[in-house]
Amino acid sequence: MRHWFQQEVARQGAWLCALALAPALLAGWLHPQKASWDPNALREGEVLLGTVRGWPAAVLWVDGRSRKEYDRGHLPEALLLNEDEWEELLDAVLDGWSPGQPVVVYCDDRQCQASRHVAERLRATGVAPVYILKGGWQALEREVAQGNGVGQDHRS
């Protein structure tokens, strides 16, 4: 009797696992916001800070956060551009940009969508290429704390 019960528990447990596994695999494969196993995996338009540091050309840094966050701390060469004050801030970015110069937008952290919106709108104006910094402001702060250069000042 006991043996039968153990077998039945194992059998039903296996059923439950199989039932749970199918939707889990589907979600892991198809979910639009699925997590990546690779911390360096890039979403479309993203670039790693290490890659930017290796670029030969000067970069135009754009801070896509709110003015309040920008005022708390930012890259000295970064220009503020957000959707709260788009019309007022865009002119300074277009003034500072040179044809062909890479633009890198950073935001709060990995979950911040502001940099994505800013990058999309900036591309729509005709500015290219425009990238989004993976890891955002937190990645820049870490680099600075480690004493590494984070980019090239575009205001040569």
């Binding site: 059923w15 110069q101 969508q113 729509a124 980019g151």
Partner: protein
Amino acid sequence: MKQVLLILTLASTHAMAQLSWDNRQLDFHPTLNDTNVVARFTYKNMGTTVVNIKDVKVSCGCMAPTFDKKALGPGENGVMTANFNIGQRTGFQQSHFYVQTDDPQGPVTQLTMRMYLPELVKITPSFVYWQVGETNAPKTMNVEVVYASPINLLSVDTTNDRVFPKLVTIKPGKSYQIVVTPESTVQAASARIKIRSDFPKDRPRSFSARADIKALGGKEFTAQERTPRRSRATAPKKDGGT
């Protein structure tokens, strides 16, 4: 099979979080006159012990949601309110909230706020440029009305009298072009182009575009400029980081 279903039901009941949200996703369609969108997510403690809301993270950094009650006894209700400032945003916007509680069965709940903000026109590109010395051939901006009602573009003005924008009607109320020609490209210049419309009737809107003649020289990325330069971040103030 009946036994499997019974166990599955029991297991899912056991795994159910104590905090129950009426809606995990709210959709909004604000009008042209709206300046903000307020989302109210209501929740209830369906369990038998107190649940504490510990933290909430927002995907856009543009909102700071508030809770009318963070410690909920069994059966108690609460409301999380998020105020989204539309600012100069247009089109589809989506924000996620990650609400963290001390409920071991459902420590983090994702809530979503989707907004379909009115957009009147799309100008592509809204920025055209020539380099100094380049031939001053005309460049075209396409203006498509993406709003439900037709919008007539009436005129274009420029802030620089050496850059000439011309409005061309392709399909009245729907599709236009702005053809921009600089008088010359001998020296750097910048012009803001203002496009006047007849919509809405009470306070007609204007749209902006820009045309530049970009200087050569310092922005050519010469050998010296390609040498990486060190830059520093400004130190965050002591009252907190971002």
